[in-house]
Amino acid sequence: MRPIRWLRKNLVVIAGVLALAYLILPNVVVLVFSFNKPKGRFNYTWDHFSTDAWQHPCGVADMCGSLTLSLKIAVYATIGATILGTLTAFALARYRFRGRAATNMLIFLPMAMPEVVMGASLGTLFLNMRIQFGFWTILIAHIMFCLSFVVTAVKARVMSMDPRLEQAAQDLYATPLQTFLRITLPLAAPGIAAGALLSFALSFDDYIITSFNAGNTVTFPMFVWGSAQRGTPVQVNVIGTAMFAIAVVLVLAGQLAGSRRKAKA
């Protein structure tokens, strides 16, 4: 009787721990193997502990170059998609215009369409327009597929905003520009931030679409994939672990700031 009752009481906790383990385990493996010193070229079996890779993260040819490129593209794509997407979302949520329904539907297309199809057709388009593959084609492709996510996130937020708040601001002597900067933008900020974060993550690790539009340029995901054929350097695990750690720290900082703001009152 006893163990059954214990199980019933703690079932939710157990399920939670298992789910968390399922999510965390791959990251733990990446972390552990970043301290490995493999015998051969493949970092798949544990040999012995070493901090070599952490001390020389850029010790592999071309890896840090591709990492820098990927970060650069992710930042630019995020900025571009966030600005364009926010404007689009406001237009769709606030104004009635010809073609609004069509835009509303088409904006979902990049999310719904298989990436392979989109990457391939975009590549064909660039080829036919005789545009040199490289940084700019990658950036254009990334902005395009990030756009739908930003629009979706911001539009949901804007639609749920009370229009009377902006009217109240105007009633309190705020010009349309001041109203936008002081009321509309701060209220829409969580949606915009969510869209931007999503854009960054999607852009940084996109492989499929990028590979169709990159030409000779090598982004970080492409570098990892390419090197995996010949043997993965331990440094890849170092970068992976670092990215994971940065993401966790960012999320924690965000939550801390949120609870601090609440506690301040």
């Binding site: 708040l165 109240a168 601001a169 105007q170 009633d171 309190l172 010009t175 209220l187 009152a265």
Partner: protein, 414 residues
Amino acid sequence: MTTPSTTSEATGDAVRLTGISKTYGSFTAVHPLDLTVPAGSFFALLGASGCGKTTTLRMIAGLEDPSGGSVRLGGRDVTALPPYKRPVNTVFQNYALFPHLDIYENVAFGLRRRGIKSVKQQVGEMLDLVQLGPLARRRPHQLSGGQQQRVAVARALINKPQVLLLDEPLGALDLKLRRQMQLELKRIQTEVGITFIHVTHDQEEAMTMADTVAVMNAGRVEQMGAPADLYENPASTFVANFLGTSNLIEAEVTGVLGGTLHLVSAGQKLTLPAARSRADVTAGDRVLAGVRPEKITLAHRDDEDAIPAGRNRVQGRIVDSSFIGVSTQYLVDSPVGAELEVFVPNVERDARLVPGAPVILHWNPEHTFGLDAAQDIDAGTESDDEPAPGGGGAPAAAGAASAVPAGGAGGAAA
């Protein structure tokens, strides 16, 4: 005539609406409407839900473009000005506090937008006025409904507008807090001396707070005046029923003698001072004779001989009585109408006045008012349906000898 008309109109009026109207497609929310609000007054706009109160207020604030007519503030035509250029502030129906700013910043918002740098003292004083000083650093969602309401008032009032517009700011509060806030708003208005336009559908609230009340019905102003004046001399059945309760008796004019109308209804003779009749009638016309429930005295039929001469009398039978503390509320069926309402103060209770008892209702003829019989006798009663779009005071061929007491709760304030 050297003064331009704009300045000659300026004196004394805070707000002047001329023929202002609003239509949404084919629906008329506000019919062309004239309204003048004296400076420094507490003005109440009273009407049932959906009659166009908010729309009227929004046109004054500039948040809604009128379909026609003009808005003047202190003599200046502001019809074409955007809201942020009008010296008017609004307390919104749902408060519309900025959720991302704390109370202090909410209140300071208007001052900052006008480029005032040192707001600390003013905001502090305003928060003290509405007794919210200690909560300055809270967010709106951390306040109770009543506190939020006070923030909304403070946020608007701090700008010292020419006119403060209040759109049912007390609607969401419970009765006790409502009473408290009514007193508070009245106190603040007296203290700062700003013109208040207060929208409400609560007739008691309008009467207790305002100097002047305008009663709106289906997009029109039915009547405007001091609360006591509206209550004593309603101009239409809507006002008679919406503001307190009225017994309306349909009667025929038998003659006019020395400033007195002689009436007959179902064989019972009544008199009515001609000066108190809104309808211009002569012998043979029909008229609605109205009397407020608290003006009527109730006597058992056995005591008929003790009733002084010269009073209006109506025979009847008690159908219901309810004891409500300070008074007892009787419903009396009579040949002149069903369910006449009578409020009898509980001074010395007559044990014979129970349901089924035959009674005489009698009152001073001076307390009778006359209304045009070509109106819906039920207009403005609680049982009355939502006012028909665009319609108001629809003529109704109410059956002879019908009298309908109805309306809001005991409006014994007279």
